[in-house]
């Protein structure tokens, strides 16, 4: 007869390493007076364009940006040309940023006092699963993606501390159903503010920037 197996209990999250590093980064940033925003959203929703609108309105608060992309550095160059201290992380294929990548980038940036925007890889799935040392998560969502997105990609909506609904100037040209969208968002996330914006017209960004400033100063 085969010997019976003996069970050794472990009960350890597979994310433990990532979470430990994220906690360290968060503590280090807080100590340096940095408020970190993890910017998430699908490709093409206007994450960088939203950051440009927000940064213009930060008045007196120093912005920093870590740009995550699989390849290329167009967004970093755009931000640097505005005088923003920005660095690029190319994941070379990985679909999300994780905390060891950010730990290194934060060291390289050598920053103090201000707001650090960490623009995650364009992806509505994986970034929501990984903490990267942020204080808040900002989700950029759009009317052109369709109003069913909260139902299809619930985790990103659930984890967000603020939802920026971009491309609202295009509502007349789409079949975006705001009621259906908001019903899904509210079921997943009863408290996060949902702010309608347009990077083209700038509408809504005063409110987004005010929310960030209040959180950063709190």
């Amino acid at each position: 007869m085969a010997e019976e197996n003996r069970e050794i209990e472990i009960m350890q999250s597979v994310y433990d390493k990532n979470e430990q590093v994220a906690d360290q980064i968060n503590a280090e940033l807080t100590e340096r007076g940095i408020f970190a925003v993890n910017v998430m959203g699908a490709p093409g929703v206007g994450k960088t364009s939203s950051l440009i609108q927000i940064i213009k309105r930060l008045e007196g608060i120093t912005p920093y940006v870590i740009e995550g992309d699989i390849e290329a550095d167009f967004d970093t160059i755009t931000l640097q040309s505005m005088g923003v201290k920005a660095i690029q992380i190319n994941t070379g294929g990985a679909c999300h940023l994780d905390s060891p990548m950010i730990g290194q980038a934060v060291k390289d940036l050598n920053i103090e006092k201000g707001v650090l925007f960490i623009e995650n890889i364009g992806n509505l799935v994986c970034p929501a699963e990984f903490m990267i040392g942020e204080h808040v998560k900002m989700l950029v969502s759009t009317v052109t993606e369709g109003s069913d997105k909260p139902y299809k990609y619930p985790l990103a909506f659930e984890k967000a501390d603020i939802i920026v609904l971009n491309k609202c100037d295009l509502i007349p040209y789409t079949d975006f159903d705001e009621e259906f969208y908001m019903k899904g968002v509210r079921a997943l996330n009863p408290t996060a503010p949902v702010i309608k914006v347009s990077c083209t017209t700038g509408e809504g960004f005063d409110e987004v920037s005010k929310w960030i400033k209040e959180k950063a100063n709190a």
Binding site: E7, I10, V14, P154, E158, K183, P190
Partner: protein
């Protein structure tokens, strides 16, 4: 797509625990994976044998216990599995909010 590093981590944790307990062969790893954890159980299985080679987990069985996500009704408190495109509670029709059930992703135990 990040199942590869995650599978590596599972094997590393199991091997660490085996070493701590003076064991050189792990027969089974019991892993709990919620369907909302973002991990595809079959992809973890796909990598497992290759990565486990040469570790105490080589040849061990990977037992994945999957957990179906449940929402909790904000009105009547019922725990339920959601239907597609809906968060509606089957009992009272209220909206369900996400719970931790279905987001699990941990190594429960090893069998030696």
């Amino acid at each position: 797509m990040h199942e590869y590093p995650v599978t590596k981590r599972i094997i590393a944790v199991a091997s660490e625990f085996a070493a701590k307990n003076g064991i050189d062969e792990v027969k089974q790893i019991n892993l709990v994976v919620g369907d909302y954890s973002g991990y595809v159980a079959s992809s973890i299985e796909l990598y497992f044998d290759i990565i486990a080679e040469g570790t105490p987990c080589s040849g061990s069985k990977l037992n994945i216990m999957r957990v179906k996500p449940k929402l909790k009704c904000s009105i009547c408190g019922e725990l339920f599995e959601r239907k597609l495109f809906s968060f509606e509670c089957p009992v009272c029709g209220g909206d369900g909010v996400p719970t931790e059930i279905g987001q699990e992703f941990y190594i429960k135990s090893i069998e030696v």
